[in-house]
């Protein structure tokens, strides 16, 4: 087992070329905070990008930041905060869910996992903010895509292709992201005591208003107590985040209070408590319980989430909470991941995809971690992978079983 720890893009290129020539599959890893996600990978060697660091360009007035892939996310967020800016896609921190501790993770990892957070509804995910990359494909070719300007349609958007590719297409060495001004202030409107169905209706009403709600979540009974150090108590809480300039936030909070006055008791939370709530929702803190009980991340039609969870509970024990107006459902199962039930019911309730984010290794090996794709799409995805990495050198088998990963598994 060799762990290569390149410090320059040229060294990354060299390492990948060596791996290609030796047909030696490698794990591509940053801080390893998301190592537990995906199909179990079996590689003899690894490329550790955590020494490929440094912000190479930051021009706040141009809304652009470039960094080497291994640069700590925390360092970038601190740099941006110093100029009143942020990564608007609010990358979640998986460290808490996996018990590996908060505050770690790299900017390259944020792209590879297409991270996002509660602001996803309004601001999108990493894919919506990536402007350009430099990378080394699994063929051992260094290439660039995109640029450093916020508006660019020159050629295929290969930068987006890196988002959510889990390091299986290319080793990204440099990234350029669009950055945006951070909101001057935020306030959260809470409606208390709603069941999941009524919460869905309240969230749809709020999101369909001109109050410009940037995040909408529902924490059912029992889950609410597990955010912000218990500040909310245990009653169900339906949360609507309003961000922006002071006078505008005040006005929009009033608007929401008027709109939802018949929905239930309303509370207003601002400042650090509001930030803590959304940080905990972002990081799936309610299920950061120190166990490896199965956790699903389900992306689906928002309005179908409550009936989906209701139907699932008829068949299996599951804790749930909702972000993105219901478009993101976090599920924690009792013991068995119940993959068949989760995916069957997801199809019945409008489709989407369910990822088994956390589970004991034996489950990860037995259950398709990512949503299985229809035949034609799976074939296209496989051809896409083969164009970047024909020998299956990079994170083989992490996203999907393929011929090359089977070969490596067998050898």
């Amino acid at each position: 087992m060799t762990i290569f720890a390149p410090t320059t893009a040229a060294e990354v290129l060299d390492t990948v070329r060596w791996a290609v020539s030796e047909e030696a599959p490698v794990e591509v890893v940053g801080h390893g905070t998301k190592r537990g996600i995906g199909r179990p990978s079996q590689t003899e060697h690894a490329i550790d990008l955590s020494r490929l660091t440094g912000v190479t360009l930051y021009e706040p007035e141009e809304l652009v930041l470039s960094a080497r892939a291994g640069t700590p996310l925390a360092e970038i967020e601190e740099l941006l905060a110093g100029r009143g800016q942020q990564l608007a896609f609010e990358p979640m921190d998986y460290g808490r869910l996996f018990g590996t501790g908060p505050g770690r993770g790299t900017i390259g990892g944020a792209l590879a996992a297409n991270l996002s957070g509660p602001r996803r509804l309004k601001a999108g995910a990493a894919r919506d903010h990536i402007l350009g990359v430099a990378a080394v494909s699994g063929r051992g070719d260094a290439f660039r895509a995109g640029g450093r300007v916020v508006k660019n349609v020159t050629g295929y958007d290969l930068s987006k292709a890196m988002a959510g590719s889990w390091g299986t297409l290319a080793v990204v060495t440099d990234v350029t992201f669009k950055v945006l001004p951070a909101a001057e202030t935020e306030t959260t409107v809470l409606v208390r005591g709603l069941n999941d169905g009524d919460a869905a209706a309240a969230m749809a009403l709020a999101m369909g208003s001109s109050a410009e709600v940037s995040s909408a979540a529902h924490l059912p009974e029992g889950v609410a107590a597990r955010v912000a150090g218990g500040a909310l108590g245990g009653d169900p809480a339906t949360l609507l985040r309003v961000e922006g300039f002071g006078p505008s936030v005040a006005f929009r909070v009033d608007m929401l209070q008027g709109l939802l006055k018949n929905a239930g008791a309303i509370e207003i939370v601002a400042g650090e408590t509001s930030r803590a709530i959304w940080r905990d929702i972002r990081d799936c803190a309610p299920f950061a319980d120190g166990t490896m009980r199965p956790v699903w991340r389900v992306s689906m039609t928002p309005g179908s989430a409550a009936p989906f969870v209701f139907a699932l509970r008829m068949e299996a024990g599951a804790d749930a909470f909702y972000d993105w107006q219901g478009g993101l459902v976090w599920l924690r199962m009792e013991a068995d991941p119940e993959a068949e039930a989760v995916r069957r019911l997801l199809k019945r309730f409008g489709g989407g995809h369910a990822t088994l984010v956390r589970a004991e290794p034996q489950w990860l090996a037995a259950v398709p971690v990512f949503e299985p794709q229809p035949t034609a799409l799976a074939a296209l995805s496989r051809r896409f992978k083969e164009q970047f990495d024909p020998k299956g050198i990079l994170n083989p088998g992490r996203m999907a079983a393929d011929a090359s990963s089977d070969r490596f598994a067998a050898s």
């Binding site: 007035e61 300007v149 349609v153």
Partner: protein, 498 residues
């Protein structure tokens, strides 16, 4: 570019034209196949009118099944296909080929579903951009990307080109507002990417498809996100004695944490042409005119207008007017929105370019353009999506003067080279098409282009879909397959390893 080299027509395909037309009539019965010269004339060009070519045959399918059968038929017989939406491309993306079936998607013109509680619309690709907004505006919603051709351009074409518009700094491009598509691959396979949910599953092929200019697949259904219309919008009209001051004002507005709904700049020639045309009350004694539109709740707009005014004054603005009525706001915009036809009045022809630059390079690029303008002896007027650095230089020429089109194209190419040189890109929103195809090498290395071509190989290995667009030269996928392997020693033996 006038000597544009398109792929050599396939003699075998041309000789089988009658048979192909007959087979198309079997797949698409009724009026959906056009093969007469007069009938096909309407399709011989798109928004880049300098180029014209009659296709082999025009086919207007009505169902996904027909699209699938047409593509499969053509794939099996090695017949090229050029997809077309409304034909508004400014880069020649829908330019026909003599030996290619022109697949026109305009009959896919229905909105399939409006879902207010999830805030999405599912539409067929031939629905116009503005048609989506019209379908939902009675409930106070709209579709945010607003390319200037929005009255005519189709949502399928928007996906193909990743269209922008004046509001995309705040609300994003097509790629940020499309949640899902259904598409047909060249082999006839029907694939759905995304849907009403937010994250794409597996590889972000939706992101790759968006802006792929009709080279990867034919879009047959689009799911877009709709937004609630902002409660208020007001605009400021700000004039500056120099473009540097205008550029700095833009930087300071963004530096202050304000992302306006729209932020447009015009230079002196564009201001004058627009004012002469629509009499919007633009000041004629300024070098740069900025329109800043703020939208949102009234209190927010009022709050930010005060801040933008202060920033403008601090940067030496000589005029600063704030719209006090909806009519006045529209008047401010009238000149900018009419800038292209206004320039069309002062010059027999104009050629619209589309580079993006880092904003701080604006003075340098404008100065470079003035130099080029003198060297080529052709005028240029500039409109500029100032917030995101997207320049639209309009080169003035007369196509009836022999050689002027060539000169205008050479001038345009030099402008784009300048954009790339200062850290920008060839195209911000119009696409590469045939227009900028031969300039791709200015921005990308061979290795970069090879990797893009490999994406093409995953979708359409026989290069049958829209060939001759985007890539300066086509190489067979098998030739691209070679690996660059340096067997043996590492060049950097001292890479830390454990």
């Amino acid at each position: 570019m006038s000597g544009l080299a398109m792929p050599k027509p396939d003699a075998g395909t041309l000789s089988r034209r009658a048979e192909i037309v007959a087979d198309m009539r079997i797949i698409v019965p009724g009026e959906g196949v056009v093969d007469t010269v007069n009938g096909m004339r309407a399709f011989e060009t798109d928004g880049l009118t300098a180029y014209r070519q009659l296709p082999l045959v025009v086919v207007l399918p009505e169902t996904v099944g027909q699209v699938s059968r047409i593509l499969k038929y053509c794939n099996e017989r090695n017949i090229r296909v050029v997809p077309r939406g409304s034909g508004t491309s400014l880069s020649g993306g829908a330019l026909p080929l003599e030996d290619a079936v022109l697949l026109v998607m305009s009959r896919f013109n229905r909105i399939l579903e409006i879902d207010y509680s999830n805030r999405v619309v599912v539409a067929q690709p031939g629905v116009t951009n503005l048609g989506i907004t019209h379908a939902v505006e009675q409930e106070g919603f709209y579709y945010a990307p607003d390319p200037s051709s929005q009255i005519a351009c189709s949502i399928g074409g928007n996906v193909a080109e990743n269209s922008g518009g004046v509001h995309c700094l705040k609300y994003g491009l097509t790629a940020n507002n499309v949640l899902g598509i259904e598409m047909v691959l060249m082999d006839g396979a029907v694939v759905r990417l995304g849907g009403k949910h937010l994250d794409a599953e597996g590889y972000d092929l939706l992101g790759v498809m968006t802006g792929s200019e009709g080279l990867l697949g034919v879009v047959t259904e689009v799911t877009v996100r709709i937004l609630k219309k902002p409660e208020t919008a007001r605009a400021l009209l700000i004039g500056f004695p120099t473009s540097e001051q205008g550029g700095q004002c833009v930087a300071d507005i963004i530096g202050a944490g304000i992302v306006p709904g729209g932020m447009e700049m015009m230079d002196r020639p564009a201001i004058r042409a627009a004012e002469d045309f629509v009499h919007a009350g633009y000041p004629l004694d300024v070098e740069a005119l900025l329109i800043v539109e703020l939208d949102g709740p009234g209190v927010e707009v009022d709050h930010l207008i005060g801040r933008v005014e202060a920033i403008a004054h601090a940067n030496g603005s000589t005029t600063c007017r704030v719209s006090t009525s909806e009519q006045e706001r529209l008047t401010f915009w009238a000149g900018r929105k009419a800038a292209f036809p206004a320039v069309g009045r002062i010059s027999p022809d104009y050629y619209c370019m589309d580079g993006t630059i880092p904003r701080k390079e604006l003075p340098r690029v404008l100065a470079g353009m003035r130099e080029l303008s003198e060297r080529y002896g052709l005028g240029v007027a500039n409109v500029f999506h100032a917030g995101d650095g997207n320049l639209h230089p309009l080169i003035l020429y007369d196509a009836n003067v022999p050689g002027e089109l060539d000169k205008a194209e050479a001038f345009g190419a030099d402008i784009l080279r300048l954009c790339v040189k200062v850290g920008g890109v060839l195209t911000g929103e119009h696409g590469v098409g045939v227009e900028k195809r031969d300039l791709m090498g200015e921005m990308f290395s061979e290795a970069d282009l090879d990797q893009q071509m490999r994406v093409k190989c995953a979708f359409d290995p026989n290069h049958l879909l829209n060939p001759g667009k985007v890539f300066p030269q086509l190489r067979r996928c098998a030739e691209l397959g070679r690996m660059h392997v340096h067997r043996g020693q590492l060049a950097f033996p001292d890479i830390p390893r454990f």
